[in-house]
């Protein structure tokens, strides 16, 4: 495994250099929001960030995506699969929790039976460069409770760790190693590695917000009908903020749009918090109120995903905690469930 060192201020330059050959997604400060967007001429990446507002899942699973196109002709409809536009890309500087989410999303989109080509094509063509959290970005971060770590290469091809005056650059996969040339030729010594391990241990210990995520699975197995579920949802606005900012939420809707004789079929994000999500044509709704929707969201992350893929579908980034307009705190919910 290659390792090298780069100067602290070199990061932006490297990201910009990569734009010559790749589509580079990097955090950019737009007014008060830090967002992952494709770097263009004139935009500066912003690496002194805590974490981005939106989860970088939109790189592989954009909010809105064309699935196919069709044209109405005299003979009827002619379908054409939208040509696979996935470009060779680099996702530069994601936090380890968000990189962890890609591993979780892979389990769903890259299953044996049904493969989701749209997601997979982008995922395969993208090299993920993680930027380790040497100290927890937010007091509400809880990655260590859900199988994550602030300094972790999971889901990443390359990991950058701030070890003081340098970044230690570690290349974990062949895909990552292809980018070695962008990082200069200062080889890392063992001292750098020791330093990184120290920092990693310290960073891990600094995550003080904890949830009993593994404890709740057997409790959830048995408590579908527990009156506890009546207590969460009262103030829920039924907006989709938590799900839209979540790195692992992946529900989507499919719809058609037409103009003249041309049409497209698009898929776009949907949310289990929306009343229409499960409403059937007959008017019947299997999840009629916010209670069932909250139960679904909690269960999906901490039980159903574990049942199906043996992994908790939460990476502990804390976005839903911080940005919920009415402060419904998943940490408290899990805590309360663990006491049932």
């Amino acid at each position: 495994m290659e390792k090298c060192l780069i100067k602290k201020d070199a990061l932006a330059g490297i990201a910009k250099k990569m734009t010559e050959n790749f589509l580079v997604w990097a955090p950019v400060k737009k007014e008060d929001n830090i967002l992952f967007v494709p770097l263009q001429k004139g935009t500066e990446p912003f690496f002194a960030y805590l974490n981005s507002k939106n989860a970088p899942k939109n790189v592989f699973f954009p909010h809105t995506e064309t699935m196919m196109k069709y044209t109405r002709t005299e003979k009827g409809m002619v379908f054409s699969e939208d040509e696979n536009k996935a470009a060779e890309s680099v996702l530069f500087g994601v936090r380890p929790c968000d990189a962890h989410s890609f591993v979780l999303l892979d389990k769903l989109f890259d299953q044996e039976k049904y493969k989701d080509g749209y997601y997979i094509a982008k995922r395969q063509k993208t090299t993920v460069i993680s930027l380790a959290c040497v100290k927890p970005p937010y007091a509400s971060c809880f990655c260590t409770s859900v199988d994550g770590e602030p300094v972790s290469s999971e889901g990443a091809d390359i990991l950058l760790t701030d070890i003081g005056s340098y970044y230690l650059v570690e290349f974990f996969t062949p895909k990552g190693e292809k980018l070695v040339k962008y990082f200069g030729d200062t080889k890392a010594d063992t001292a750098a590695e020791t330093k990184k391990n120290e920092i990693a241990a310290k960073a891990k210990a600094a995550i003080t917000s904890k949830i009993p995520a593994h404890v709740v699975k057997p409790i959830l197995d048995k408590n579908f009908d527990n009156p506890f579920w009546n207590t969460i949802h009262g103030k829920c606005l039924a907006c989709g903020t938590c799900t839209y900012l979540c790195p692992t939420c992946h529900c989507f809707d499919i719809s058609d749009e037409v103009k003249g004789t041309d049409g497209v079929r698009i898929r776009s994000w949907d949310s289990c918090m929306f009343p229409m999500f499960t409403k059937e044509t007959s008017g019947h709704n299997p999840r009629p109120s916010q209670k069932e929707r909250w139960r679904q969201r909690t269960m999906h992350k901490f039980k159903y995903y574990v049942d199906n893929f043996n992994a908790i579908s939460c990476v502990g980034c804390g976005r839903c905690v911080m940005y919920c307009p009415v402060n419904i705190d998943i940490r408290k919910i899990i805590e309360d469930i663990s006491k049932l």
Binding site: M68, V78, Q111, D116, C272, T278, E280, P286, Y304, D307
Partner: protein, 279 residues
């Protein structure tokens, strides 16, 4: 790799209006590309996503049987955006068909057993597929006695009337058609499905009941079968949920950890008991 979201082009070959109210029609599709038919090999109980230009998709159970070569049939009630558009279609139009999706009636499990099929109203479609499959010359000997109990609100709402007449003539099929309320021309049975089940009283010996119908019918029919001694493993039904992708990704049709589109729609009562009651 076949993209599971892209439909096969199919042409509407024939449209049959099934009921007096004209809001249920059977659509017969032929594949535009003949090679697609082989790719679309299905088993009774599976469903397809009917895909209409500019309107979207609708998951509908396959009403024809794989033994009927050259076409696929769907019986569709006019309800939402897609099905309404479908009902406006003319023969010869090209549209899309995705699938086959979902699991199916458990044919291997049914083999060698006596089969009791109970259907109510519009939900009879995939049962029709199963019946046609089982009574086909190639397959009939693989199954024991076949009892069919089929009910509709009134004679005008019975589906597949010609076929019912054909089936009625067969000696290897015990057909019981009933309506809630008959009309002047109705000479058959009158009464609700649960009552007819009680009357027909199929034996539980080596038997499996396949039940599909509106929730209220299922609610009153199940106790009859429990009384007859059927175990939950031997009662099989099919669920309906709102679906979009049909391949277990879009996240709306799950009942507990199972996706109705991918792991269902067919479940035995024993399996359903293990799932959360959220359907």
């Amino acid at each position: 790799m076949q993209n599971p979201y892209i439909p096969y082009p199919v042409v509407v070959d024939k449209i049959i209006t099934e009921v007096d109210t004209k809001d249920i029609k059977t659509f017969r599709f032929k594949f535009v590309n003949p090679e697609d038919e082989a790719k679309y090999s299905y088993i009774p109980g599976q469903f397809g996503e009917l895909s209409i230009y500019g309107k979207g998709e609708s998951p509908i159970g396959i009403a024809s049987s794989p033994t009927q070569k050259g076409y696929v049939e769907f019986t569709v009630q006019k309800a939402g955006v897609v099905t309404s558009a479908l009902h406006e279609m003319e023969e010869g139009t090209v549209m899309g068909l995705r699938g086959p999706l979902g699991n199916s009636w458990p044919l291997e499990f049914l083999e060698g057993k006596n089969i009791v099929i109970v259907g109510g109203g519009f939900a009879f479609t995939t049962l029709r597929s199963l019946i046609n499959y089982m009574i086909h010359d190639d397959n009939r000997k693989r199954f024991g006695n076949i009892t069919v109990i089929y009910g509709a609100r009134n004679p005008g709402l019975l589906l597949y009337k010609d076929e019912l007449t054909e089936w009625g003539k067969r000696s290897d099929l015990n057909l019981n058609v009933t309506v809630d309320k008959g009309d002047a021309n109705w000479k058959g049975r009158e009464g609700f499905v649960p009552a007819v089940c009680k009357e027909v009283a199929p034996s539980k010996e080596n038997a499996v009941a396949v039940i599909c119908g509106p929730p209220v019918m299922i609610r009153f029919t199940l106790p009859v079968f429990f009384d007859l001694g059927f175990s939950k493993e031997n009662i099989i039904t099919s669920l309906e949920m709102r679906m979009k992708c049909g391949v277990g990704k879009c996240g709306r049709c799950n009942v507990g950890s199972k996706y109705v589109c991918k792991d269902g729609p067919v479940f035995s009562l024993a399996e359903l008991d293990k799932l959360t009651p959220e359907y």
